[in-house]
């Protein structure tokens, strides 16, 4: 039943808060502002939402609190997932399953974080999440996402001869996209000299290999494809969906640190949507760190293993290229909303509302969660322009 969800549900509303380094408000307030904006975008009424779904790592308001604050008296669906970027599209898939099964009619998915002013992913002022393997990492000063991803990335770079300049080109093309995005936090030009001169964070990562830390929320409303036809926005269909198991240093079943869960997941994902990689018009790849973009180009089947860097150098991933990637600038340059801003950008591309950064003729988009390192799981969706 690989295609059980195909085109059954749609994203009909998208809402953002502003992006900042200090929102000055609670994650509950951020969530409510983004959700209110998404309800308005969809042309729905307060009171239509009957399901809620979010992901968090102990850094944001609980889903039921948001449901109460929304005034949902008879909550029909509720998912409060522990997880980071790997879980971002999983929240959307879960909401689609709830809608397709009839559990709920309108499910709102969101991510709300004060990732700069309250709970920095980089570690400052933050207790380790309650992950059992942290006991084997904390005493060595090896805790934060940049350190963990640097470990896998270094193995990947060694295997395929990927250079600092190859990583720099990822940061640079995505900055070019952010410069066409009024929402983006980083809108100044970035040169290779700037990139190479940026300070080491944890080798092989320089500052510009690392995503931003942002205070923001993004919300998406999912309903059935049938109901979506009567709403004010052109629907964007959830056409394919897949979860995948990934690596951690502690998995005991994946000796190879250089490939991602996307390799297994992508086969199921494309089958669920009834397409292949050649059918994808635009890809929003989870990009906590630059090498993840290269790995996903390979593991989602857009090029052969080891050829991701060449694809970027050829310009294929820029707007106007064969496969525009991270058209909003991604986590590296737009802002960090833990994967949900990638889904929102994919929706905007399929609505045709991206202005200067619009990909011509975008009909099919891929949006991915963190590709399975560190979290030990991953998820991704194929979205399609509805009618």
């Amino acid at each position: 039943m690989a295609d059980a969800l195909r085109d059954k549900t749609a994203i009909v509303g998208v809402g953002y808060t502003e992006y900042s380094k200090n929102s000055g408000v609670s994650t509950l307030t951020l969530a409510l502002r983004a959700i209110r904006a998404a309800i308005d975008d969809a042309g729905l009424a307060h009171g239509d939402i009957d399901g809620v779904a979010c992901h968090r790592v102990g850094d944001s308001v609980q889903a039921v609190i948001v449901a109460q604050a929304l005034g949902i008296r008879d909550l029909r669906y509720h998912a409060d997932m522990f997880g980071g970027g790997a879980t971002s599209t999983q929240v959307l898939i879960s909401a689609s399953m709830a809608v397709a099964s009839g559990l709920a009619d309108y499910v709102v998915c969101w991510r709300a974080i004060n990732a700069r002013s309250e709970w920095r992913m980089g570690g400052t002022g933050r207790a380790a999440p309650d992950t059992v393997e942290f006991q084997y990492q904390v005493p060595y000063g090896f805790v934060t996402p940049p350190q963990q991803f640097a470990m896998y990335s270094h193995a990947y770079m060694h295997r395929h001869g990927v250079t600092a300049e190859d990583l720099g080109r990822v940061a640079i093309f995505q900055r070019g996209h952010a410069m066409k995005n009024e929402r983006a936090m980083m809108r100044g030009p970035l040169t290779m000299d700037d990139y190479l001169a940026s300070r080491w964070i944890v080798e092989p990562f320089r500052l510009f290999d690392c995503c931003l830390e942002t205070d923001a929320a993004v919300a998406l409303i999912v309903t059935s494809a049938e109901r979506a036809r009567d709403l004010r926005r052109r629907p964007v269909l959830v056409s394919g969906a897949a979860y995948g198991g990934g690596h951690t240093l502690f998995s005991n079943q994946r000796a190879d640190l250089t490939t991602t869960a996307a390799r297994e997941l992508s086969t199921r994902l494309y089958a669920s949507a009834g397409i292949g990689p050649a059918d994808v018009d635009v890809a929003e790849f989870y990009d906590a760190f630059t090498p993840l973009v290269l790995m996903q180009l390979e593991d989602f089947g857009f090029c052969a293993p080891g050829d991701g860097a060449a694809m970027v150098a050829d310009g294929a991933t820029s707007i106007g290229g064969a496969l525009p990637v991270n058209t909003h600038g991604g986590h590296l340059s737009e802002g960090y909303v833990h994967g949900l801003n990638h889904v929102a950008e994919a929706v905007a591309q399929l609505r045709g509302s991206c202005g200067d950064r619009q990909v011509d003729g975008a009909e099919v988009a891929l949006s991915t969660g963190q590709p399975g390192y560190v979290a030990g799981c991953s998820s991704a969706v194929v979205l399609k322009k509805g009618s």
């Binding site: 904390v138 350190q147 470990m151 964070i201 000796a255």
Partner: protein, 150 residues
């Protein structure tokens, strides 16, 4: 390393015997009683064959560099940048990869310049200072293998 600053591991009920063995300078692995597959970190069930019975066995204490990172940023208290963390692939079984400290020159400040992926390492044990009254803690530190002999 200063006892007051460095974050200490918090063993759980599965891992406590493993941490106690480190204090005796023994690196242990679990071995499945049915299929002989090795595993780490400590878990009750064999993920190959689903068997619950297992025994502790001593690891060889040898491995190779699967990857490493050089930390230049202040990621937490008690660490002085730059410092290296290695991911060591054990010779005992290639899907067992352990993070640990690297102790190349022996003075605790490392830039990783002498490391290479695939470099043979051997285990060493670092008895760290803990606050008085606390359980003793020993950590893994790895150094270049002195000889290739088993």
């Amino acid at each position: 390393m200063s006892a007051s600053e460095r974050p200490l591991p918090v063993p759980d009920r599965d891992s406590l015997p493993w941490w106690k063995a480190l204090v005796r300078h023994e690196l242990l692995l679990q071995r499945c009683a049915s299929c002989d597959a090795l595993r780490w970190p400590p878990r009750e069930l064999c993920n190959r064959c689903g068997t619950l019975d297992w025994t502790w066995i001593p690891a060889s204490g040898r491995g190779t560099v699967a990857s490493w990172v050089v930390n230049h940023h202040m990621f937490g208290p008690g660490f002085r940048a730059p410092y290296v963390v290695v991911a060591v692939r054990l010779d005992d079984q290639d899907d067992i990869v352990m993070p640990g400290a690297y102790w190349g020159s022996g003075d605790g400040t490392e830039d990783g310049a002498d490391l290479a992926i695939g470099l043979p390492l051997e285990v060493d044990f670092d008895d760290i200072d803990v606050p008085s009254g606390s359980e003793p803690i020993t950590l893994l530190r790895w150094r270049p293998a002195r000889s290739m002999a088993p």
